[in-house]
């Protein structure tokens, strides 16, 4: 059993190509999770385009992909019209909602391809695109148990976990966990204190081999962004510590952050994990990085 995770887009909000973002990348959210022969795609930001090109190059047969969208804000769906496997008749794409008959994502993927927005009609896509759902709970897909968790984000967003034979990957972006911190008053007096995250979310993330989580802001930036739906990277570290996560990828990088800014933010995150006495490996998700979990 082998699990591979590859980052195709790690940026938040808007693509940021250019020399200042070469290291961590400028494409918006898209992560590939491959567990044995099953292919899961988390979000369809602009990184999805390159994943599509790569899938066609590496696949000798048809592409079958299970697509999970945290939510439908632009930076999470914009790559879909450019996802080449969607155009070939032999391919099958399963687009998941979270509750029974939840076709919200499917509808919005279709909507963004109306002629006002895009020249090719959704109905002209050649592949089989199937609206599916998690039935409100967990679902086994090709032997992989997939679960969801509703997060804190304007317009709603969902985290997903993928688990098979004891290997667990959690994708949790666009989640302002700072809004849910239980000891907010203590933190005002002691900013370095561990921020306690609700037990339900700690359990959802618990013992993940890899947590990919929105850590868009620094501590200094966050007060001006309250309610925008994104977290402090430092709070993600505290979540990882409480949930005994093995590796934590800080994700959904702020479009204003250069590679240099990112390096500094990650260094501070690592120092925070160390101060908490945790062995969690914290790193900044970067385009083109593939991790093998076994």
């Amino acid at each position: 059993m082998t699990t591979f995770v590859r980052f195709w887009g790690t940026r938040g909000s808007i693509p940021t190509p250019g020399h200042k973002t070469r290291k961590y990348g400028g494409n918006t959210s898209c992560v590939e999770v491959r567990i044995d022969d099953a292919l899961f795609i988390c979000d369809g930001g602009t990184g999805l385009r390159e994943l599509g090109v790569d899938l066609l190059a590496r696949s000798s047969s048809s592409v079958e992909a299970h697509m999970f969208f945290s939510h439908t804000h632009w930076d999470h769906i914009q790559g879909f019209p450019f996802f080449m496997p969607a155009y070939a008749t032999e391919n099958s794409l399963y687009v998941y909602g979270v509750t029974k008959d939840d076709n919200r994502v499917h509808r919005l993927l279709l909507g963004q391809m109306r002629s006002e927005y895009f020249p090719v009609k959704f109905s002209d896509l050649g592949s089989k695109i199937v609206s599916s759902d998690l039935g409100g709970g967990a679902k086994s897909i090709e032997g992989v148990m997939v679960r969801h968790y509703e997060q804190t984000h304007p317009g709603r967003s969902f985290a997903f976990s993928f688990e098979k034979n004891g290997v667990k990957v959690v994708y949790a972006t666009d989640n302002e966990i700072d809004m849910t911190v239980l000891n907010a008053d203590d933190i005002l007096e002691h900013p370095e204190a561990l921020r306690r995250v609700p037990e339900e979310f700690v359990r959802f993330v618990g013992d993940a081999d890899l947590l990919i989580a929105d850590g868009q802001y620094t501590d200094e930036e966050y007060p001006a962004k309250l309610g925008w739906g994104h977290a402090r990277a430092s709070t993600v570290v505290d979540l990882a510590v409480q949930a005994r996560v093995k590796q934590c990828a800080i994700f959904h990088h702020d479009p204003m952050h250069s590679d240099h800014d990112m390096d500094e933010k990650i260094a501070r995150c690592r120092a925070r994990a160390e101060r908490a006495g945790s062995n969690v490996v914290v790193f900044g998700a970067r385009e083109g990085l593939e991790i093998k979990l076994d």
């Binding site: 590679d259 490996v281 790193f283 990085l289 593939e290």
Partner: protein, 155 residues
């Protein structure tokens, strides 16, 4: 070592390497990337002279070995595919019991190299993260066993 089928090499001399490593690649002591000098010949493009100090020079892609057997030394990355390992068949051969015979490969695509773990026993660590593969960027650190290498982008 066998060099059967070895690619053509660009050889760079270095006084700092006492004995040439058994590598198919250029290898020499720690280096600086070349910079324009006053001795550069002026160039004329059309009627416009190009000032030597601003003329663009190509710099090589380099892997600097900063720790492990044989360090410090630099490898100029001249090939599109470069295997690094303990085997003397590897393009960059490093005599360490902590690395696999064929440990990792660097593959060039356009202006960048990608590193891939060749199912090594001890893995490839990119800036401290165990990576299966990754597109490399200036200053990235690769650790394989007791060997630490720093990637320097060329142009």
């Amino acid at each position: 070592m066998s060099t059967a089928g070895a690619p053509t090499l660009r050889v760079l001399a270095s006084a700092r390497v006492a004995s040439a490593p058994e590598s198919l690649l250029d290898c020499h002591g720690p280096m600086s990337h070349p910079r324009p000098t006053d001795e550069d010949e002026p160039t004329v493009v059309g009627d416009v002279p190009v000032v030597p100090s601003v003329r663009r020079q190509r710099t090589p892609f380099v892997l600097q070995q900063i720790e492990g057997p044989g360090a410090p030394r630099d490898y100029v990355l001249d090939l599109d595919e470069i295997v690094i390992g303990r085997s003397n068949q590897a393009h960059i051969a490093i005599d360490s019991s902590m690395i696999s015979r064929r440990h990792m490969v660097l593959s060039r695509s356009g202006p960048e190299y990608t590193v891939s773990d060749l199912d090594s026993s001890n893995g490839v660590f990119l800036n401290g993260i165990k990576a299966h593969s990754a597109v490399l960027r200036e200053g990235d650190t690769l650790q394989i066993g007791d060997v630490v290498l720093v990637y320097r982008e060329g142009s």
